[in-house]
């Protein structure tokens, strides 16, 4: 009997610990965000630090974004044509490709790729700096590590994400055009004219850009936070990188649902 109650108490204690840890981390990440925003003035003044991070998270992600955008567009074109031609409206395939890319797939897949390509690299870099006590050394030299290391990486991610998402959507539409118009033989004019008639710049394109901004901010914040917060050991860094990718992916998908339900509820 005693062992039974002991088990229940142990289980409750475990739940309580998880909850407290979760709340503590949530509070910590919020305080971290404020500290980061307060220290951001310096990363504007020393813009070359941010430009360097734009290179590492933006330019180096170009290839994967272009290639995956192209392939997603090719697949969308094929599948869209296969389904739409059953209803005799294969001409509308351009609309389907463009709207699904601009509204959902562009921002979401670009953000997922960005989290695994650039987010994990940011976490690894900051985590290793912590493990090798570089962050502490900076503190000793009266250099604020949040202003010097964290803020530029955050802003580099926030700024490059919308550009990458727009590029992803454009490449996807190009891929869809390539497979349906050039290979299958859908009418070129109908492809573009129906797309133009259906896509609204302020509604579809801008909402996609807003989404990618939000995803960029969330992924960058998670990446720098996990790096800054990691256990300063080899194992801790590897766990932090895993957490960055997993948490970012979940946050992107959940936020995408929330944003979509606010943005696109069928006018």
């Amino acid at each position: 009997m005693n062992a039974f109650f002991g088990g229940i108490v142990g289980g409750l204690r475990h739940i309580g610990k998880l909850t407290i840890d979760g709340v503590w981390r949530l509070g910590f990440i919020t305080r971290f965000l404020f500290a980061l925003l307060l220290a951001s003035g310096q990363s504007v003044r020393r813009i070359h630090l941010t430009i360097r991070e734009l290179y590492f998270s933006g330019v180096l992600s170009l290839l994967i974004i272009i290639v995956s955008g192209l392939f997603v567009g090719l697949v969308l074109g094929l599948q869209g044509y296969d389904i739409l031609q059953r209803y005799g409206s294969a001409d509308a395939v351009g609309v389907m490709v463009a709207l699904s890319l601009l509204r959902e797939l562009g921002p979401v897949i670009a953000a997922l790729l960005f989290a695994s390509r650039a987010g994990s690299a940011i976490t690894a870099e900051i985590g290793l700096m912590k493990a090798t006590e570089q962050l502490k050394a900076m503190d000793m030299m009266a250099v604020n590590p949040i202003a010097r290391v964290v803020a530029p990486r955050f802003w580099g991610g926030v700024l490059s994400m919308p550009l990458l998402a727009a590029l992803f959507s454009a490449m996807g539409i190009f891929g869809g055009w390539l497979i349906t118009v050039v290979v299958i033989g859908v009418d070129d004019g109908a492809f573009w004219s129906q797309m133009q008639a259906a896509v609204e710049f302020e509604y579809d394109v801008m909402n996609g850009v807003i989404k990618s901004f939000v995803f960029g901010a969330v992924v960058s914040l998670i990446a720098v936070f996990e790096g800054y917060d990691c256990e300063p050991t080899a194992e801790g860094v590897s766990r932090a990188i895993t957490r960055t990718v997993v948490t970012s992916a979940l946050a992107i998908l959940a936020l995408d649902f929330v944003l979509t339900s606010f943005m696109f509820r069928g006018q």
Partner: protein
């Protein structure tokens, strides 16, 4: 470590490509222009009802693409829609050609079909097609069908 200028160049390339993609998305088509720069002439046709016809919709004759819709405007004097079309210079049509608005498939997009007449004179730039047939409006068609059905037993 990369030099400062190379870094700036790459980031500049990223920003340029990103904004180019945005502009492409904004314009959606970029360099698309009518019949790929072929020489065209313009004709117009008045319709009572254009249905869901859109600018840049295809103009076909016997199912072959011969041109594109260039603009659609509303004529306040006759209260009809006037559709301006660009027709490829290679295709000449008789002056008494008729134009009708058709639909490709049941739910497909609408286009203009040209049926050649028998006149010796060809249509020239700026000419007007006089014989036109409006788009079929499904509601009207169903309404008429129901009306006819209702009238049938009374006639017997």
């Amino acid at each position: 470590m990369m030099s400062r200028t190379a870094l700036d160049l790459w980031v500049g390339i990223l920003v340029a490509i990103g904004f180019a993609a945005l502009v492409f998305l904004a314009m959606k088509v970029g360099n698309f222009s009518g019949l790929d720069g072929r020489e065209t002439y313009r004709i117009e046709a008045p319709f009572d009802n254009i249905g869901g016809l859109k600018v840049r919709a295809p103009v076909k004759s016997a199912g072959v693409l011969v041109g594109r819709v260039q603009s659609i405007r509303f004529d306040t004097e006759t209260y009809r829609a006037v559709v301006q079309m660009e027709i490829d210079k290679r295709f000449e049509f008789p002056a008494d050609t008729s134009a009708s608005i058709l639909t490709s498939g049941l739910l497909g997009e609408q286009y203009i079909g040209l049926d050649a007449g028998a006149d010796i004179e060809p249509l020239k730039d700026g000419d007007r097609v006089l014989i036109t047939q409006s788009a079929v409006v499904l509601e009207k068609l169903i309404g008429q069908f129901l009306f006819d059905k209702a009238a049938e037993p009374a006639a017997q």
